[in-house]
Symmetry: D3
Subunit: 160 residues, 6 copies
């Protein structure tokens, strides 16, 4: 596969995201890590901060492109000539959500393909939401996010 | 990706399997459709019959190889220099099963990667088991298996 | 609604089944309690015994017909001019199974309609399988099956 | 059955709702499509708009009554001498929610009966929420809502 | 076991909570009913009201201590020399949530132990949220909360 | 708590079982590891072998008693003056099963209490069934069963 898109909020990137990025990047020539703006969800980290945190976390990988979109995922995919989306499950509650999304995306563009990966067990419950809550309590988050961004996240959350 | 393995019992192949084969074959140079012998499950169709039904159903595809193994999936994968497995969900009950399998396989060989696809809605509940049960009642199975093999399946089931 | 079919194995009838029968019988002129022969499952009670246990348990209801079939449910429904099937969930594991069955039946006959009821909480985990296992241990099953058939079930199970 | 109530937010009505309405209307003399005001959820379409969209979508059906309530569903049902509620599942996440609702309603009025239908596969993931999100992106929603109301929904959403 | 902590929002306490409190209090010398402040959720009852409602509901139990914290549960547990948390499931949707919480807490303090109880069937769907919604409609809530606090809850909700 | 019972088939004991045994043994004076004969399931290891494997695996623990029963769990519990059962989930499919068992046991003896623990993530998918299947393929099972019994299991399975 030439290109794959890994879309998400990345608010902020976690070890769960990084695992998918590392595994997916081995399966294609270029992996686009795509921050998709969610009109219904308020983010803690702004666009520039999220891009920076992803860049710092993926600096050891050669074939990553970080991008941002306010369009529908399929619209972005078409424009970028990329028809493979990669997603990671966290828990079985994601199952129906991802199935629905894959179905909607396929109705919008019948060439789009969605592939899903299971996280390794240690990352199964890691989520941006939990990381932010732990950081608010000044608890140690170093098991859940890349080490190069631990401080940046902790500072940001407690400055708010 | 050079090669991918799509393992299963294929007893017999259904439209659900064929959909995954068609979609997966576009993502790699060669797709190995691998009949894996399940020591705990008795099959209705023997090895040769299952191979023939898959061959008939996939004759329109260029990059398919059909194979059979009595080894562990990971052992087969290693020997064939292929580290990507593709699976299709049928229903959410498959979720934990596939997660467990991916976890076990990864423990056996840390280079193995498991990717999962969602079926299109029309194939969501299609399974070999249901096809066989319908055929036993001489009900119409043409919506669930490739048209070229409808007769072969019906005859086999009712000869038993 | 004129007629409804309530299909099942009824091996034997439980309070969970009886609840659905009582509630469904209020919604139609005639409720057919249909024992469907399952070729893949060995029953403990034979056809005549299952009919007798249902008859004893439903003697207080006027609009019940008990029947038996070895055909596909939809074939039976068509022949009996009845296009409404009523089912009861036991647990959420039944959800996908019943959804699949409803989908298959609808493909066989597009006039068939499947309605589902939730059990009252006290009957949520009541199943023929559990009743038989308790009876094998000579435990009290009177909370799970109609009182008029407690003895018949206990005797039968322990005679086996 | 004389009357059945099909309650919901209908913000706005989708093809998923319409399917249940069409199927349920065949099972009773009168089907009340009941818009129930949800104090915890802000709607996009107001009361009058939601009524209009349902009316336009169901004009081909003879036995539909559209109504609106700010009372508990059971209070409305009692006043209207109707003790059968019909609901449609969308996904298995609805299972526990509908079970809880049926249990609460039964505690409020022991004569109330809740029946559930499975959607056809093509409508499985159709929801008002998804329709509104697609419309916001000016994506094509014609596969998800009745054709007579596509324009009205698109305009409304983009005027907001 | 010397001490156990039963944490929750208790906004307000329900019969579901009381059941767990009564059962858990038999398994230890002291049960701490811990109101944990949730920064992301707005409560209807304030701290003092929630404490009072729990005190009234548990006055028949000898070994209950009611407490309140704005810290992480594990921080509170450590300070109070208590390493056993007891939780009650309500529905299977709680399963993954509680599993995640137990995993996070264990990462924070490897001595912490989480035990879970199943509710009796009659309390399966009882939740503070549903109680508050019923009270808003002036419906009878006496089946869902301890009798000594029915009036206090009803008044509070309707004064808002 | 004085005593707790940890029931199971233990055919054979795995690291998943051992984890629960170690954690539960800290919560009580005596933990009874109870091999319960399942009349519907054929075991690979006989009674004596299963006892030996548990004894070898738990020799570092002081307060373990290993026992065997062909009675109902509740009958055994009553006779041994023990009213607390401890269980471990493996996956969410166990949720409804354990809930049903706890409900049945409580109906048989209202003093019985069932507590459940979540496995640590690394043991989430470990099961006797999977261990036996891996051993049959002569795969490495040392990550899934206590080291002192790896050889005994491997030999037994391949002698069969």
């Amino acid at each position: 596969m030439n290109k794959m898109i890994y879309p998400g909020s990345f608010d902020p990137i976690t070890n769960g995201h990084l695992e998918i990025i590392e595994r997916a990047s081995k399966l294609c020539d270029e992996l686009i890590v795509l921050i998709s703006h969610n009109i219904n969800k308020k983010s803690i980290f702004n666009k520039e901060e999220r891009i920076e945190l992803i860049a710092l976390s993926t600096s050891h990988l050669k074939n990553i492109k970080i991008d941002y979109t306010e369009e529908l995922l399929v619209t972005y995919a078409k424009k970028n000539n990329c028809n493979v989306i990669i997603k990671g499950f966290r828990t079985f509650n994601d199952y129906e959500y991802e199935y629905a999304m894959a179905t909607y995306n396929n109705a919008l563009w019948d060439k789009i393909e969605t592939l899903v990966m299971f996280p390794s067990l240690k990352n199964q419950f890691v989520s941006s939401t939990n990381v932010k809550e732990l950081a608010m309590f000044k608890a140690d988050i170093s098991a859940y996010v890349p080490s190069v961004i631990v401080d940046k996240i902790t500072k940001k959350i407690n400055k708010k």
